[in-house]
């Protein structure tokens, strides 16, 4: 048996990739350049595709390969390229200017990660002692943490494009949850979700572009005329 057929090795790899997915999410919170943010999102998606691939390989579940391939093509290549084009096109200042400063954001992210652990623990217990060794189940806290931190990023960011990125990373958390809990949703639903994400990003990008054209800024805190 080669070492890459050892389930324990697969388990280690999944855990490791999940940890780096989390590190990248915190990188997205902590650093200030939009382009780096997009790059971090791309690498994060790449790692997710890797996790999906590993799960598919060790569980002999071919439909997850499709999900992995879709993630790779769509989220790791297509969307980042598209978003970078958009950044180049609208010539925005590249700094993110979050509402909460960086150290505090990182601390909040850490707290959210612990919250995710607390939330995930009973779910992990729910899967029963026999199943707890199942491949990839231990990435559930990371998935929830991605979700929560993505949510926090949406709230704490002012620029429209960074909010889109936050939404996308939140979506990544959902993908990881689907992979780790259920070994992927049924393929047709997965396809539907990917289609929705793609269309949503296109629509949001057009909105970002038009907000930029109309307000001469991407700062959504300027969108404050509608009240009451």
């Amino acid at each position: 048996m080669y070492f890459w057929q050892d389930p324990q090795f697969g388990d280690r790899m999944i855990t490791l990739m999940a940890a780096f997915v989390l590190v990248l999410q915190i990188t997205m919170v902590a650093q200030r350049w939009l382009i780096t943010n997009i790059r971090a999102f791309a690498v994060q998606s790449l790692l997710l595709a890797g996790i999906a691939n590993t799960v598919a390989y060790f569980n002999h579940a071919p439909h997850i390969y499709a999900a992995a391939a879709l993630t790779l093509v769509l989220k790791a290549i297509l969307l980042p390229v598209f978003l970078r084009r958009l950044v180049a096109r609208i010539e925005i200042r590249q700094e993110i200017e979050p509402l909460v400063n960086v150290p505090l954001s990182v601390i909040i992210s850490g707290l959210l990660t612990m919250l995710a652990y607390v939330v995930a623990e009973p779910l992990r217990a729910a899967s029963g002692p026999g199943d707890s060794a199942a491949l990839g189940h231990n990435t559930l806290p990371v998935a929830i943490a991605l979700f929560l931190i993505g949510f926090f990023m949406m709230v704490s960011r002012r620029k429209a494009l960074t909010q889109v990125l936050a939404l996308l990373s939140l979506e990544n958390g959902l993908f990881l949850a689907a992979i780790s809990l259920t070994y992927g949703m049924p393929l047709i639903i997965e396809l539907g979700i990917f289609f929705d994400v793609l269309v949503a990003v296109m629509i949001l990008a057009i909105l970002v572009y038009r907000i930029r054209e109309t307000f001469d800024s991407m700062d959504v805190s300027r969108l404050s005329r509608l009240k009451g």
Partner: protein, 317 residues
Amino acid sequence: MIERFVSVIGQAAMVLLFSPLIAGLGKALKARLQTRRGPGVLQPYRDLYKLLRKGMVIPDTASWIFPLTPFVLFSTTLLAGLLIPAVSAQAPLSLFGGVLAVVYLLALGRFFLALGGLDAGTPFGGLGSSREMTISAIAEPALMLAVFTVALGAGSTNLSSMAKAAVGQSWHFLAPSQMLAFAALFIVLIAETGRIPVDNPATHLELTMIHEAMILEYSGPYLALIEWSAAMKQMVLMTLLINVFFPYGLSADASPLGMTVSILLFAAKLAALASAVVLVETANAKLRLFRVPELLAVAFVLSALALISTFLFGSRG
């Protein structure tokens, strides 16, 4: 008892004798990477020999702390070196708290060095001391957290048990907590040994220097002791990193064959780690002083994540 005595003597001799070699190796390699000829590998020995023979100038304003500092620094560093398993999984000495004792011995040395810098009464000394303490204020918690993470995995803060626990597991180094802790400790290593991008030991530029500013007033044998301690500290930290994270080949018993293999492997790993540090030094520029805390904050966050991930991923963290 005799065996213990031999191992203490042996490791002390190894730390004392080989630490300048590692420093020299690093300098030579750096010179090669910068396409300079540079000094030979043995240059640090020559420097130490030269300094030890020279006379000393002691500032008039200095109190008893100034001459005490080199000795405290030298002895604490050497003692820390004896607490670490180097070629055998069993460290020669084992004090209270294991790895914590190592951290605090190094901190004690640094504390005296900072005092010594202040004691000379020159502006540069004070400047160096304050910078050193600023950096260590962030580097030390990162170091502690990373060490705790590893200790948590091993179930003990005793370095010998940590090394032994690490030898037994397959794919151990793939655990995220290990990787993150290693990354954090690597940054701490660079900061603690005064390397680029945190500090540049090769210059005396007042805008940036940290370690060199503190020891600016020392000369002769005292300077030799301090330089020697710096070399030993580097070796101690590197050994810590190597044997906690990559303990493969560490001999569990004292058989001659096991020891030989272990020594050879240890030397190779040490050389590899030193090369890695030199590569980082060559590939990066010195950071602005105000950005240094940010780099160390990254180390801190990484080690905090390492600690969290031991919980997040359960037994596989």
